[in-house]
Structures are given as structure tokens and as C-alpha cells.
Amino acid sequence: MINLLDPFKIAFGSLLSNKLRSLLTTLGVIIGVAAVITLVSMGEGAKSYILGQIGSWGMGANSLVIQPGTGDATIPELTLTYDDAVVLRQKIRHLQYLMPEFVGRGRCIYGKKSYIPSYTMGASADYPLAYKQKAVEGRFFSEADDASRRRVVVIGKTIVNKLFGSYSPIGEKITINGIGFTVIGVLEEKGTLLTNDMDDIALIPGSLSETVLGTNKIWEIFITVEKDDQVAQAIDDIEKILTARHHRVDFHTHTQQGMIDIINNILNAMTGIVSAIAAISLLVGGIGIMNIMLVAVTERTREIGIRKSIGAKQRDIFLQFVFESVLITMSGALIGIIIGTLAAWLIMHFLKMEAVIAWGAAYSACLVAFLVGTFFGVYPAVRASRLDPVEALRYEA
């Protein structure tokens, strides 16, 4: 049986006795691996941030969106109506939440103060669950409120600040486009998504949209089903129901999976480019390692002669030098992984996102470093193992 532990120890010992050179030799590998790990960790972090944002709006893989038009016009004809939403709610199988958006303009007046929010929207009672934004003060309106066209409104923090300042708005009367409403709830703060203030919103029952906003047309309907794998079936139902009602296909659906796929594609492309750069860096690093190993073989000719004179076989010398080269690259890869992870963590910390440790990239870096070390270590090791013992013993460094 070949004893691998001893050549390993010998290789490790000779690396330790030459720390600075070992470090410099493997610098190329360290930089290459660190760059990959940093970028992949940041990419993974950004991905999980984006997916987290989508998830925080309720848009998981069990969700889909129906939009009016066929999806190729910039400004679509608004073909979906309140009645469509009512029928869909009755007929889609495994429906969990259904949230139609009737978006319009509404002037809100409280006493002498007047304000037009970015969004005044007709919604369904599913809004808090579908969009994961509950009422933190008061309550959201119920299905019964919607069905009975009760004039109640739930408002976002921005509107509260504009109209009520620090007073609680619950129970206060306001008018929207001249129609009297009672404020029954304040929405949980969402902050800003891209540049949109998501708290500058007033929500009224969808059944009142036509009366208040002058439209019963829907911008989009957000739907979730109970399980991810029921999305396809739901799309099928929607297509049958709406085509039957409209006698044509004047709507289209998006799934969140599609969006997730796009993000994944972008990140995968980025990872690909980074890996290509890293491959070049590792190649250059590998050549550097081969160069140093060749120098080491010459420098240690006498050591090789001594080892051979006391019985080292070609295989022993070969393994010693290959292990050295593999160890040096693997150490470089490990150092690179540590530096890369720390760098990613630091950068993401400043961007206020969380870095995700790129385990996959780390494993591949180790594997590639192993292969590079082996490949570029073989030639110097073969040279070392074939030295003539008499000549090697005579060699004066």
C-alpha cells in the first residue's frame, strides 16, 4: 500500500519552512479565488435581497398576475372589470387570495387640509394577506364592507402625516373626491421600493371604485393559490373564464416564477463571466506555481540526492513535489475563500444587504485549485523524481 501521509507531511514541512515564498507563489491563486468568492457572494446576496423584497410583497411562486391587454402594447386597453374579479373569485380552483387593483386619483380632504396621494386604490379584503401589509392601527375593511359598499378607507403613514400629523386618524371623517369616508385603519409602513413611496396610499373597497374613482377598470389582479404547483391550473381556469366572458383574449398572465427566472439568468451570466476571469487568473497562478516548483527542484537537487541515497524511490520524490504544489494551491484557495468572504461581507454591509456565503463557488474553487496544483506540479515533480542520484549528490547549491 502506498503511504500518502508521509510524503504529505514532508511537503507540508518544506512549505512551512519557506513561508514567504509559499505565500508569494500562491498569490495569483489567492487573488483569483478571492475575486470569484467576493463577486459570487455579493451576487447571491443581491439575489436573496431581491427575492426577499419580492417575497415581502407576497409574490412567491404560488402567485400570478392578470393584466389587461395582450402584453405587447405599452398602454393597454383596460379590459378587466370589477365583475370579472367577482366571477374569478368564485371559479378559480384552490384560490387563496384575489386582489384587484383599481387605480385612480383621489383628492383627500380633512378639515381644511387637502392632499392627493400617489395611489388611491380600490382593493379587496384580501389586500393585507396577499400583499403582506396589515393594518397596524384600527383594522382593514372586510369582505362584508366591500360587498355592502361601506365608505371606509385604510390609509398609509404618509397620508396620516399629511392630514393628521401626530393625531390618530381612526374614526375621523375625510372626503375622497367629495365623497365622505371614515378612516378605519392605518397601514403598516413599507418604506420605498425603488423610488416609489409605498406608504403614500389610500385603500377603499373595490366595489366603490366606480363611484369614487370614476372607473371600474382594473390595472391588474394579483392572485395566489394554495400550492405552488396549482399555478398552472389556475392560469388554465382564468383563460377559460375570461375568454368565455370577453369572447376574445384581451388579457395576459405573469407568474412570479418567470421573474425569478430572469433574475437567476442575469446572476448566472454574471457568475459565468466572473468564473472565466477567475479561470485566467488561476491559469496564470498555476504557471507561477510551476515556475517556482521548477526553481525549487533545482535548488533542492542535493536534498533529492540525499533522499534517493537513503532509499527514496522515484514515486516518493514525485509525490513529495506534487503534494507541495497541490498544498500550495489549496492553501491559496482557502486563503482566497476567507479573504473573498470577508470582502463580500464588508461591501454588502456598507450596501446594507446581507452577504450569502458562496459555498458552491468555494467548493469549486477548492476543486479547481486542486486540479491546477496537480496539473502544474506534475512536470516539476517528474523532473525531480528522475534526477540521477550521483549527480544530485554532487550538486552544489
Binding site: 533522499r307 537513503i310 532509499g311 524511490k313 516518493d316 549528490l393
Partner: protein, 243 residues
């Protein structure tokens, strides 16, 4: 039994076991276009327990002969056997095995590995023989005891005197209980006192039955051995038993 010399296999004329049998060995080098006839037909038999000196002026072929006996080099023609194994027919790996198990080298310049301490240097041949850690530590420390260095086991060669270094080298040569010890000018780099001590150590080892071949040009050193073989121009000039 077709080859010359093989009919003598088993024992010499005196009946003792033969350790080295050399039959008409020639060694020719090519240094550029110049042909160097280092050995021109050497015949030599060394029996177990002998203490032999090989002497001669520089360029007489003693180093070449030593390399061939030590299986570091092969003859251009002729035959050599160690413990009745025809080593001139072996491949590189088998030769490495013979060097490891049958021959112990002691060099003029000690040839210890500078980055290993004394005990690790002594362990090296045991590593290549495949011994486990416990076994080789035990054996190496016993051997350092034999050469009187039990208090220097963890010193590196740079922390040892020349005489101490050569003792470590001798302990290393003994590691795998070889059939013979080959020493090339073992006192050449030592002061006379340390040289004297090393020679006494050799005598002591020989008294324990270890076969020794020393290459030297120093008459005093050779005087401690039991047999002197003189070489000149790659041939045996004289071969005399002195004890």
C-alpha cells in the same frame, strides 16, 4: 549458472557469507566528447563482518566504485551483487529498495537535511521503508543512543558540531539494519579528535558484526581497518589483510 561468478554464490573460499561480490566491473563516463574510464575491470569480494578500506589517489575510481557498491550507479559492464542479489539487473525502484534496506551511506559532508532535527533525519530511511511513526521514533532514538547523541535528538544539524552531525549520519545509515555501511571520507571534514571518535565508533560497530567499507586517502584511518584495497587507474593495485 551460466554467468561468471555465480558458481561461487553462497560463500567465499573461507566459508563466510558474502556481502559484496564484484566481477570484472567497468565504468565508462562520457564528459562531452571525452571518454573517462573510471573503472577498468574491478574484482572484489567482501565478506560479512569485514572492515575494509579503499584507498588510492584522487581520480583512481574510488568514488565511482563506492557509488556502484552503494547502488547509486550501475556498472557499464561486469556484475555486482549485494547479499547475492544481482543488483546490476535491477530497475531503479528495486535499486532504491536495496539502498534503503541493504546499504547505509556515510558521507564526507554528512548530507543531513538541514530543516529536519537529528531524530527526523535518522527516521528518513525508516519512512521510505514504510515503518509507522511509533516504530521509527523508537528505532531512531535507540540508534541515537548507540552513537551517543541521546541528548541532541531534537537539535537541527546547524546546532550540532561536525562530529555530532557525522554521528547522526551514522545512526541514519544504521536505521534499516543494513548489510553494509559505506563511508566516503567520513572524517574528511572533521578535526582530528572528532575524526578519531568517529573511527572508534566504526570499530565498535564492526565489533558488533557490522560490515564496513571506508573510502579514504588517510593512512591513519585506513590503519584502523582490517583490510586495505588500493586502487590505481581504475584497477585494484593491491589487496591486503592487515589484521
Amino acid at each position: 549458472m551460466t554467468r561468471d561468478g555465480s558458481k561461487l554464490s553462497g560463500s567465499s573460499a573461507t566459508g563466510a557469507q558474502v556481502v559484496v561480490r564484484i566481477r570484472d566491473v567497468k565504468r565508462i563516463y562520457h564528459l562531452g566528447k571525452v571518454e573517462v574510464r573510471a573503472l577498468q575491470g574491478i574484482n572484489l569480494i567482501v565478506e560479512k563482518g569485514e572492515f575494509l578500506s579503499i584507498m588510492g589517489p584522487s581520480g583512481c575510481g574510488k568514488s565511482t566504485l563506492m557509488h556502484i557498491i552503494g547502488c547509486l550507479d550501475r556498472p557499464s559492464s561486469g556484475h555486482i551483487s549485494i547479499d547475492e542479489v544481482d543488483v546490476d539487473e535491477l530497475d531503479d525502484n528495486r535499486l532504491a529498495d536495496i539502498r534503503n534496506r541493504k546499504v547505509g551511506f556515510v558521507f564526507q559532508t554528512f548530507n543531513l537535511l538541514p530543516k529536519l532535527n537529528a531524530i527526523e533525519n535518522v527516521e528518513l530511511p525508516l519512512i521510505y521503508a514504510g515503518a509507522g511513526f511509533e516504530e521509527r521514533r523508537k528505532k531512531a532514538s535507540e540508534l541515537l543512543n548507540v552513537v551517543g547523541l541521546n541528548d541532541r535528538m531534537y537539535h537541527r544539524p546547524s546546532e550540532l558540531s561536525g562530529g555530532q552531525s557525522q554521528r547522526v549520519a551514522i545512526a541514519r545509515a544504521l536505521a534499516n539494519d543494513p548489510s553494509l555501511i559505506l563511508a566516503d571520507e567520513p572524517t574528511g571534514n572533521l578535526d582530528s579528535k572528532s575524526g578519531e571518535e568517529i573511527i572508534h565508533l566504526f570499530e565498535e560497530l564492526n565489533n558488533r558484526g557490522i560490515t564496513l567499507i571506508i573510502v579514504t586517502h588517510d593512512k591513519d584511518i585506513a590503519g584502523h581497518s582490517k583490510r586495505i584495497v588500493r586502487l590505481k587507474d581504475g584497477l585494484v593495485l593491491s589487496d591486503e589483510k592487515i589484521k
